[in-house]
Amino acid sequence: MSKAITLKEAVKKPDLLASGHRLCAGCAEPIIARLVLKASRGAIIATTATGCLEVATTIFPYSAWRIPWIHTAFENAAATASGIEAAWRAMRRKGRGPLAKYETLDVVAFAGDGGTYDIGLQALSGALERGHDFTYVLLDNEAYMNTGIQRSGGTPYCAWTTTSPAGTVIPGKREWKKPIDEIVIAHEIPYTATVSPAYPLDLMQKARAAFETEGPAFIHAISPCCRGWRFPPNKTIEVARLAVETCFFPLYECRVEDGRPIYKLSPPSLAIAKRPERKKPVEEYLKIQGRFRHLFRPERRGDLIERIQRWVDRRWEMLLEKAGL
């Protein structure tokens, strides 16, 4: 185990994702990527599935990555990460090759919700089942933002997108968000965690834990998108925090020990579990975002807000049960 991460130490560590990338002003993805890379132990190789992070950080002839980085297609970020890890093990075993000198190697795959929930699910499932030692970071901005806000499996109920437009016929997306964390935990991988960029220390500690884990680790990060979620760019962190405070996106980690998943709530969510009166109504989270505007204007759709609140409450209670609280 290496030393615990503190903000004081981490601020001195140079960023491995350089400035000058061309993600939108107020995007949460570079915040998450910077924090994850800050938690690396040493040698690190990254791969990114097609998505905002990839296309905006590697516009030819520029690259914002200060570490070895491999391009991947949309569907196979996890497969590429498996390949990197297998190549490193082979070089270690044979004692030759450029990676042979590294005792530890952090392999990290970044993918969006499209590349995880929908297109990359089979590659992810395969890599988790084979048990490669890598970290998969899901940057969940809840739609295909890179191509123009199309719905994905990660888009929440009632959210407006260009392919689930809110109008007189439908109130935005008609399906619920896919429970990707449960799907991943069902693979019985050693470490799964949810993170929010609003809590940087918690994020870095979980990323470090994921790197230190022997075997696959999965980090699910909520990544508010000011363009697609329709809020001003300076509110990104505020929205990411409200998602946690309303329990829409609770923070926890899950370790599988002896084949049993052990859930542990992280401090921001644990505080709500201990003092339930701190839990904010989901309406506060919906109201700040333009993609849910049709729930409030021209008339308030109390029935739909109530339905979303019930979904949040049910999933929160299920999580508390799993965490033994």
Binding site: L7, K8, A10, V11, K12, D15, L17, A18, S19, G20, H21, R22, L23, C24, A25, G26, C27, A28, E29, P30, I31, R34, L35, T57, T58, I59, F60, P61, Y62, S63, A64, R66, P197, P200, P232, P233, N234, K235, T236, I237, E238
Partner: protein, 91 residues
């Protein structure tokens, strides 16, 4: 019939990004820039972690913004717990 195609050893390298994005200045995207009130600043360093550009550094012991890259999103001003950051017009 068909001629022998080149094997993978003979293939030329693909396109490799050979410049750092540091050479690409995104500072002219925004209209505002953060201004720090160093009297109020508690050096909590949160603005460094919340900055999407990594443009705020504490190398000098206090926050400094690199205006070559700051896109003026205003997250730092919105999140500063001490209220020490104000957004002002660039230029």
């Amino acid at each position: 019939m068909s001629e022998q195609k080149p094997g993978w050893r003979e293939l030329p390298f693909g396109a490799i990004p050979y410049k750092s994005s540091l050479e690409y200045h995104t500072g002219d995207w925004g209209v505002e820039r953060p201004e720090f009130d160093l009297e109020k600043c508690t050096r909590c360093t949160l603005c460094h972690f919340y900055c999407p550009e990594g443009a705020i550094s504490f190398d000098a012991g206090h926050p400094e913004v690199d205006l070559r890259y700051c896109k003026g999103c205003g997250i730092c001003a919105n999140e500063c717990p001490a209220g020490a950051i104000r957004m002002v017009r660039k230029g």
